[in-house]
Amino acid sequence: MDVDQSAVLAALDSVVSVVRTEGPAEAWRLRARVCEHRLRPVEPIDLPGSLFGWLGVQDDEIRWSRWLANCLGDRTAIGQVAREAFCKAVGASISRRPPVGDCSGALPPDAAFWEFVSPYHWRVVPEYAAPEGRIDVFVSIPNARTTLGIEVKLWEGWHPGGDGEESQHLRYRRLIERLRPDGGFGALVILTCREDFVHEVPPDWVFLTWRDLGRALRRVLADHRIRDPMTLWPLLLGLGALEHHLLSLEPGALRREADASSILPLLAWLDYLEVHA
């Protein structure tokens, strides 16, 4: 081994020995902080394995958009929680980045509007096919005279149009504008894993990340107090898988003995849960 290698290895070793000596106590402290925010009586990350992982569909955008559509359109407690969380997440996103005009160029729905529409019945169609294209989730909320298009993405960007074809976001804007009830709202939401994608999202689209949605689901689940986990299992399984696969949060960091190697994963959990370390 030459001098350069041993210099690097010795330097790293000195840092690692600090982490090893001080790390376990820090890891225990962080784990306790995370555990204060566990959902009760069922915590999604405690569920054994991930349904998406087990089926091998964790990278399949269509499965994620179907899961979302099924939850949003559900008429039981699942739908109630999913719609409330989705609307809260959209409202929070609008507060950070107000959209400029809706499809008609009129004033866009604000955060309060989204809270207002969440209890209504939503007609949800997954993979809605129209001449303009196939949008991942199409929602109509008749009582609120609102149509909503949700484009679901994992890591990829807008699909480019073919020769002379409009890009995806322009085509979906036309679609929602066409289906918007007279005098009502038409809204467009892009849901993605990529925080940096915000720079590519037109100002009349609501930018939402899976991280925002996961956080909102947790908040709503905590408020609702899960009375009967059996009624919510598809939502809980999906949330656990979302956190694991799409947000790369390590469930193992909460299960295993706290040691130095848990520190970074635990910090990632605390950051996600918006809890100060």
Partner: protein, 194 residues
């Protein structure tokens, strides 16, 4: 953690009593990392040659991203396809930052060839490999097994680095063979549906 903080800064702030010690280590690491990677690159080149794989060294990229540096070897990978075998050292992820040493192979493939990834993934899944095999598409390349040694999580020794590099030629050969097979099959004459 602020986005501009490095892995070392994060550790230094968390364990503040050792702040000075960590700053010194960081300076040594940054001054020598480049040559550390070159040593790894030389070692890897020998390993490839011992398997009959010719390679061309590319100079380590100087800090293309602030906290990351990589050294690569360009290798011919069958039917006109080129590939890189890479060793990378530096920080990974934003907000979930690890200091890592990574190795893997990257094959240039077109987007039309993307469906082949699933086949490569399943073909490699059966390979007896002590390290996890992963396949994904990024930067217009099929990236195979970017195995990661988290520097702080375990003992990071020259032996552990060498074990990584020893495993790479075999992984590269198997992946290239698998890609060749899939591509020649897809380029073959169309068969009528039964």
């Amino acid at each position: 953690m602020r986005p501009e903080d490095s892995w070392f800064t994060e550790i230094g702030m968390r364990f503040a009593r050792h702040h000075q010690e960590i700053r010194t280590a960081e300076a040594i690491f940054r001054d020598n990392r480049h040559r550390f990677l070159e040593s790894a690159q030389d070692y890897l080149r020998d390993r490839l040659e011992s398997r009959g794989i010719e390679s061309t060294k590319s100079s380590p990229k100087p800090e293309d991203k602030r906290e990351r540096e990589e050294a690569s070897l360009t290798v011919k990978a069958g039917a006109g396809r080129s590939a890189s075998v890479l060793v990378v050292m530096g920080e990974q992820g934003a907000g979930d930052r690890h200091l890592v040493f990574k190795t893997g192979a990257a094959f240039v493939i077109s987007k039309e060839q993307l469906p082949a990834i699933e086949n490569v993934r399943s073909a490699l899944a059966g390979v007896q490999d002590p390290l996890k095999v992963e396949c994904f598409y990024e930067d217009q390349r099929l990236q195979v097994r970017f195995a990661v040694l988290d520097v702080a999580a375990g003992s990071f020794t020259w032996d552990s680095v060498r074990a990584e590099l020893d495993a790479l030629p075999d992984l590269f050969l198997r992946s290239a063979e698998c890609l060749d097979c899939l591509m020649s099959r897809s380029a073959g004459p169309a068969t009528s549906a039964s």
